[in-house]
Structures are given as structure tokens and as C-alpha cells.
Symmetry: C2
């Protein structure tokens, strides 16, 4: 399905006039996915015209304020908007207590069901008919996860010529094959959907790292992704600081993208010290060509393939 990604915040730990705190919105069909909820995510959504009323799943990478302090306000605002649809929140152990104590302190009632799932280890975080979201433990200064949104493959494109050659009569039978049914023709011939279709169509794969140093499991986790949204807090000259603070620099993010053989790399979580991000792109490009630095409200469309 086509996917629209909007960067709602691209700053590191401190917001700047140009960059709000980390959050990425992803719209797919009627569903909204949020990756991290930095402070003011609700206002950024309003500014970006991101819908508040859709089915919504929120994935928090780690329990640092700059990644999660926008969550309570967003939940509260959706209640003021009289939201009825359930919201699912996924995050590290501790997120349940975080929301519990805030609800107690701030006495806010929700108008909708809130399901909060604590992610304790790598694996499938949620799975639906058309997609799954996976998590892997990343390598920050606190427990932190990277997430991969992975569409399941779709059946190949129906090829009328093949159906014709096999003697499938025009009409209802075509529709059945297109919907995955196997048919037995009057002459006893068995026709499977794959007999009348092109190759299986791969879905989109989008990976969001959250805050992390490079870590060895990443290449497999992100393998073949169409888009990797990778944190890149500092430039290469500050790699020692990045190691201490649990962050990545451009050459590392680019190496990750190269090792995972991904299509596109977007750097985000940019330290306030970089008013011009050209340096980061320049350093990353030496390792991986298809790279850019996100800015607030950058939109990336992944269209529905053939």
C-alpha cells in the first residue's frame, strides 16, 4: 500500500527554532503510525495536518524525555477531541508506569481505549494481515529499540493472457483467482492464483533506529529496507562524544545503510549545534550515496507499486 512519511521533529535532545523534538508520522491507508513522541508532537501534527482520528499505533524507542514527553499531551488532546478509536502504544519496560503516574498526577480521563504494550526483547511487536512491526534492541545509554515496519508480500499482478491460455472463462472465475482462490475448471484442470499472476510483489520496509550507537544486529534487521531513518546526532569529528552519549555519526549511519543494502537513508536527531546540516550529508555520502538529512515537515511518499 502507499505510505506517506512526515518528519514531525528532527532535533536531538534540545529543540531549536528549526527543529522540534523527535517524532515521525507514517500514514498507510487508514492507519497512522508514530515513531517517538517528542514534546509538542501534537502541535507538529496540527501544523503538518496529520490526522488525529485514525486508528493509531505509537512506537517509543526509549524512555528519554525528548522522545516521549509529547505522548501524554497527545493522548489528552485526543480525549478532548472525543476520540473513540483505540490507541496502541508500544515502548520499553517503564512506559506503563510513566503513563500511569502521569494520568494520576494530571487527572486526565480518556474517551477511548488505550493499550500499552511493553517491549522487553527483540521480535515481532505487532502483526496484522498486511504488515508486521519488529523491534530489535539497539545500543543507547538506556534500554532502546529500533523498529522496522514491514509490509507482507502481495500476490503478483493478475495476467489475463495466462488465464486465457489456461482456459479460465472470463467473469467470476477471474475474480476468484485474483482474490487468492484455487479453481478447478470443468475439464478438471486445477488453476492456482500463481499460475495466472506475475511475481510476488514485495511490500515496503521502513526502519526507524531511535537513538543508538551502531550495533551488529542492525544489518540483518534492516536488510533490504526501502528507507532507513537513522539517528545522526553528531558529525564524524565528534565520534568519541557520540560513543559516550550513545549516538551515531554520519559515516556510521551510512555504513549501517550500506551493510544492510538499503535503498534510501535519511538522517535525523540532529544536534542543535548544526544549523547547517550539509556537513553531515557530505560525511555520509563518502560511504553511502542515497542519503539526506531530514528537516521538520519533510514528507516522503512510498507509492503503491505495480
Amino acid at each position: 500500500m502507499s505510505i506517506k512519511i512526515t518528519f514531525l521533529g528532527t532535533a536531538g535532545a534540545i529543540p531549536t527554532p528549526q527543529r522540534n523534538l523527535p517524532a515521525v508520522a507514517m500514514q498507510r491507508g487508514n492507519e497512522l503510525f508514530l515513531f517517538d513522541c517528542g514534546e509538542a508532537v501534537q502541535r507538529q501534527m496540527t501544523l503538518a495536518k496529520t490526522p488525529f482520528h485514525k486508528p493509531m499505533r505509537i512506537f517509543i524507542t526509549h524512555m528519554h524525555g525528548d522522545h516521549v514527553l509529547g505522548l501524554p499531551g497527545l493522548l489528552q488532546t485526543m480525549a478532548l477531541m472525543d476520540r473513540q478509536k483505540t490507541v496502541q502504544v508500544y515502548g520499553p519496560v517503564g512506559i506503563v508506569e510513566f503513563l500511569r503516574c502521569l494520568q494520576e498526577s494530571l487527572q486526565f480521563a480518556l474517551t477511548y481505549r488505550l493499550e500499552v504494550y511493553e517491549v522487553a526483547d527483540a521480535g515481532v511487536v505487532c502483526e496484522e494481515a498486511e504488515y508486521r512491526v519488529l523491534a530489535v534492541k539497539s545500543n543507547h545509554v538506556v534500554t532502546s529499540f529500533s523498529y522496522a515496519f514491514v509490509e507482507k508480500p502481495r500476490a503478483g499482478k493478475f495476467i489475463p493472457e495466462k488465464a486465457h491460455v489456461l482456459g479460465v472463462p472470463l467473469g467470476a472465475a477471474w475474480g476468484k483467482l485474483q482474490h487468492g482462490e484455487t479453481l478447478t475448471l470443468p475439464d478438471g484442470t486445477v488453476v492456482k492464483p500463481e499460475d495466472v499472476s506475475g511475481p510476488i510483489r514485495k511490500g515496503w520496509k521502513v526502519v526507524y533506529t531511535g537513538d543508538t550507537r551502531p550495533f551488529p544486529e542492525f544489518a540483518k534487521f534492516a536488510a533490504g529496507a526501502d528507507l532507513v531513518i537513522h539517528e545522526c546526532t553528531f558529525d564524524d569529528a565528534l565520534v568519541d562524544k557520540a560513543v559516550v552519549d550513545g549516538h551515531s555519526v554520519p559515516s556510521q549511519a551510512a555504513q549501517d545503510a550500506k551493510d544492510a543494502n538499503v535503498k534510501d537513508l535519511v538522517l535525523t536527531h540532529i544536534s542543535a549545534r548544526y544549523t547547517d546540516a550539509a556537513l553531515l550529508v557530505e560525511q555520509a555520502k563518502k560511504v553511502f550515496a542515497n542519503v539526506r538529512v531530514a528537516e521538520d515537515f519533510l514528507k516522503i511518499d512510498l507509492p503503491l507499486g505495480e
Copy 2:
């Protein structure tokens, strides 16, 4: 002393593209005072060039998310900036637990001393040589306070002619009188500072209501204020809703200002439904002339008087 007020957020419970969540900054000399800390107050401070490093006192009116969810991020960012100066926070009972559980959930360490004072009842909240801050219980749907920042009166202006007539010799003696000392002249005449000064100079009085319905103690509490920053969530037609939700409408805010005999009234905490606030001003003006509606980044200067 001169005072500079900056409206950092003027929205009601839900931020809009034009209005961030409630917060007002007040600079006085080397000190910064914040009244409420809606989400993203730290970014609004950056945009308004409000200093982060000054001695700072923060006053929270009530424990609703839209008034307090910017506080943890601000405290955290000041630690990342390596702030050393103490911060004082004043708010209703519950604010200690709110900050405790956030510090535990988000594991942030501060680089400075944080003093959190729970305001349980009306009275003087803090007192310094040149000013005091008072609180009064307002009338919202949860425990809520209005705050008054009140400068103490300053001695009258020194009048050289009077000193001359009384025979005070030019030089050090003048300085002593100007600094509040009583002198005995060589001929035995006792000269007090008030003998050589104009009338006592009144300091500034600024009142911030926070969320509230009109309440009877307000007129006395705000009496004679130079500036009242009054919540005004809805317009007069929605007075019934305002009563239910614990808010005020323009005619009520204006009546409050009139009853308290204040100089200027600024309305804030404007519901997202009003993209044009002209209606609110119009309704208030029928009762009280010196009124306007705040917008984000509105600055009001109260200059040092004669």
C-alpha cells in the same frame, strides 16, 4: 524595576498553529519568572530569546497537562545546558510527586538544585527584598491558584532642593540619605530620607489568573494591579460551558478587572475555536476598556517609573 513580559503560549487546552500551550515569561532585572509551563515552553523560550540561565522561579497554577507538561522538558534541557543556578518551582500539592515520577521514569539527572514547593493555601508564596509573590485559591475544576507578583514600594525620588533647604551638605551625606540612612547634621538637626524625598514609589503589580471561573476573592487579590493576565477560554455565548469546564468568558474577565480597579487587562488561554479573537475583545470592552487578547510572543514592557 522594569519588567518585560512575554507570552510564550496563549492557547486553551489544545494548541493551534497560532497558539502554543499556556506559559508566560516575566523578566525582572536578572531574574526570570515563568507562570505555567505548557508543552513546548522550552522551544517557545528559544524562539522568543527568553534566557535559560538566569535565576528562575516557576509558578504552576494547577496540575493539568496543558499547564505543566512543558516543565520536565525545560528542567531537562537546562541540565543539558549545564545550568548551575537553583530553580524554584511552586505549584499545587501533587507537583512534587509529578516531578518525582517523571525523574524516575525518564532517568534524568539535574546539574543544578531544584527546589519544589507545594502551595497548599492562599498567602505569600515567596518573598524577597524587592518583591513578593502571593497566591490565592481560584475556582477551576481541580485545585488551582492565581498568582500576584507584587513589587514592594520604593523610597521616593531624592529631591536635592529639600536637602539644600535643610542644610544637608553636598557629597557623601546625600548618598547616605538616598540609601535610606537617617543623618544627624553638625547642628543637631535630624534628617530622615523621607524629609528629602518625593512620595513613596509604588512598584508593579502583575496578576496571572490561570484557569478559573470568576471567584469573589479576586477583586481584593488583584486590587490596583497594573496588569491582569486573565484566562478567557470561551466567549460570552458559551458562558454555560465555561461554568461547567471551570473557565471564564470576556464579560467576566472584564468585570473582574473593573472590580479590582486594574490598569490593563490581557486575555489569554483562548480556545482553539477562535481563529480570530476580535469577538472576545469586543465583548470585554463593553465592561472594561483597557483590554486586549494576547497572542504568542506578545511582549509587554512595564518600564521603571520615575
